[in-house]
């Protein structure tokens, strides 16, 4: 079973069972009252039975947040967000609610149906390209609903390998020292407005620890879902990979259709020690709003990885098709000598979506290398921006960066923008940057159509070709799903 299908089905099962039967028995309050103040922060910390240091950490972040201003530099616009008009804590109800996936979100299920059937065949076909059938590995899943982790699978198998994979709320209690040592060490609480907000009020997320020399025996997957109304979702993910260890982590996101916008402000921190490697793949399909731009998720996310160890490697791959607004720059701080940072991104916007996404590659050490491949596709009345920073610090001797940004516009009502910042303070560092903007040529469309493809399928095919360099970085089955998603996202954008 393809990874994502498996993830989804696992989650569906979990969703039904946990939402129907409840997994905590002593909940009195399902949802915190609307509003954000120190009391909210204290309540979250108390509900999570957190140690004192954690509460202090949150409060400090909250006080910093009060002093901060929402960033305005991104090329996105939205009405002011009323941070007091949201719930900051929502626990799944214990009674059977209208919360099973089928009831809540028929559109989503339709999407899944579209995604589902041809996966197996596509995978086989991909074998033609030499990938031949990969040995299928089980996938461990942590499902996070409304910022509360509802279940984690395969924990026993992972434990045997020494890998910790659990909700971060649990890690704060059970692996307090580890969390305390690393939390906020890559994205400090006061890093930016949304990171500060997250630090104050995050309710759950995933925690991964891979000890020395261990190659994580299976893909780890977290499935994020926003269900409740008027709820901000603030997950926190922390992944620590020790010397010579490695992990591949998948993140999938969905949310139901709603007329009002919902705020999602996650923080992800990755830490890689000597010779460690982390592959972090995201397929982001939050609800993008309807054709007229009503509703959808505001996706304001801070993701950053620290390559602390020599020869360590962090690779971000993202396929961003959802959200009404995306503000996201998965970055790498290359502090270990010879460490490697990668960013592969596909961002698709349609209708009234806005995306401002990219990466930062901060080269601190000698012989560090980074690669950025960003593909931006704009359709409908949407706007999409690549914003990236490559910085070579004075000690980054012989560092290298290669950046390729390509934009594709579909229709004449959208915009595609490229804003790279290139900074070098080391003469031996080398940077190469290329960017192009183009459209799908009439010749290509006609060629496909004369072979019997509909215009929409032809566009899908060509767009997938355009994104190929990125899609091939995804774990194979994730890639197949992503391809389908691209096509679905662009529906209605041609003809």
């Amino acid at each position: 079973m393809p990874a994502v299908t498996e993830t989804r089905e696992t989650v569906e099962k979990l969703a039904k069972s946990s939402y129907e039967w409840g997994f905590e028995t002593d909940i009195e309050m399902d949802i915190a009252p609307k509003g954000l103040n120190e009391e909210t922060v204290r309540l979250i910390s108390a509900r999570k039975e957190e140690p004192e240091w954690m509460l202090e950490w949150r409060l400090k972040a909250f006080r910093m947040w009060l002093e901060m201003k929402e960033p305005e530099w991104a090329k996105v616009s939205h009405p002011p967000i009323d941070y007091q008009d949201a719930h900051y804590f929502a626990q799944p109800k214990k009674k059977p609610g209208p919360k099973s996936l089928d009831e809540v979100d028929p559109e989503l299920l339709k999407t899944y149906a579209k995604l589902g059937i041809p996966l197996h065949e596509q995978a086989l076909l991909a074998g033609v390209e030499g990938a031949e059938e990969q040995k299928r590995m089980p996938v461990a899943v942590d499902a996070v609903f409304d910022s509360v982790s509802v279940a984690t699978t395969f924990r026993k198998t992972l434990e045997e390998a020494g890998v910790i994979f659990c909700p971060i709320s649990e890690a704060i209690r059970e692996h307090s020292d580890l969390v305390r040592q690393y939390l906020g060490s890559v994205v400090p609480a006061g890093d930016n407005f949304f990171a500060a907000l997250n630090s104050a009020v995050f309710t759950d997320g995933s925690f991964v620890y891979v000890p020395k020399g261990v190659r994580c025996p299976m893909e780890l997957s977290t499935y994020f879902r926003i269900n409740a109304r008027n709820t901000g979702q603030f997950e926190r993910t922390l992944i620590i990979v020790e010397e010579r260890a490695s992990v591949s982590y998948l993140e999938g996101c969905t949310a139901p259709q709603r007329d009002e916008n919902q705020l999602h402000a996650a923080v992800v921190e990755l830490i890689a020690m000597d010779d460690a490697s982390i592959k972090y793949s995201t397929v982001q399909n939050w609800y993008p709003g309807d054709d007229e731009g009503r509703g959808g998720i505001y996706n304001f996310v801070t993701k950053r990885g620290a390559c602390r160890g020599a020869r360590s490697k962090i690779s971000w791959t993202q396929v961003e098709t959802g959200s009404s607004i995306t503000w996201k720059y998965p970055s790498c701080v290359l502090a270990g000598e010879g460490s490697v940072g990668e960013f592969y991104s596909v961002a698709v916007t349609n209708n009234h979506q806005q995306a401002d996404t990219g990466t930062k590659m901060i080269h601190l050490a000698p012989n560090t290398r980074s690669t950025i491949i960003a593909k931006t596709i704009s359709a409908g009345k949407s706007d999409s921006t690549y914003r990236g920073l490559v910085r070579m610090q004075p000690k980054a001797r012989n560092a290298r960066n290669f950046t390729q940004c390509d934009s594709l516009l579909i229709g004449d009502q959208c915009g595609a923008h490229t804003v790279p910042y290139i900074e070098s303070r080391n003469m031996t560092a080398r940077i190469e940057h290329e960017a192009t903007t183009s459209k799908i040529s009439e010749d290509q469309l006609f060629y496909c159509r004369s072979r019997g493809l509909s215009e929409e399928d032809a566009v899908g095919l060509i767009v997938n070709g355009f994104c190929r360099e990125v899609l091939k970085e995804l774990p194979m089955e994730f890639a197949v799903e992503a391809q389908k998603l691209l096509q679905i996202s662009l529906e209605g954008s041609v003809g």
Partner: protein, 256 residues
Amino acid sequence: MSDFLKIQGLEARIDADGTPKEILKGIDLEIPKGEIHAIMGPNGSGKSTLSYVLSGREDYEVTGGSATFKGEDLLALEPEERAALGVFLAFQSPVELPGVNNANFLRTAVNAVRRARDEEELDAVAFLKAVRAETKRLSMSDEMLKRAVNVGFSGGEKKRNEVLQMRLLQPSFAILDETDSGLDIDALRIVADGVNSLRGPDFSALVITHHQRLLDYIVPDRVHVMAKGKIIYSGGPEVAKTLEKQGYTQFLEAAA
């Protein structure tokens, strides 16, 4: 069956930087089921335009006349609908599709057409089997399936790829638009074999060329001479030979 492909008084023009330019000026042509016709003519006579108009390219505006295929108004159909109906255009210079895997493209096309014809779609295994049989026949390497469509293909490879598509899509009417240009003799044979292998009571073709060479391998039932947007002469296969020896002059004069 005379209503297989029937073109009457077809006129078409193209927008050349804001000024419409008439290219087809009244084409009359019938190709009965099971026959292969050739169109020969000097450069600029409108041969390629005819192939584009028949396959549905949008840059051309049909200003008069009609074209029906199997009784349907061909000109009213989308390109993919024409493909599903059995029209296949082998391009003179096939466009490149960067990043689009050739095998994936072929399968998507084959299944789109099968779907439209109410045939069962091929699963990956069946498709691969079918495609490998064809590539073998065309002396194509498997490696060509793994590459992006037409990207980095030599002239000969592109033409083979076109023939491969034709074999897989099993059209009832193929248009070969100067498929012979830039081919060496071996490749020419392969292309010709590809067409001849489909030859039969249910397959027709229109071979567009300005060399007689290809017609040594694909012997046409009829040869039409086209000039200045019109068919000015029609005859048997011997016309190709006459043209080769004497050029277009006598036909042009006769038409004048």
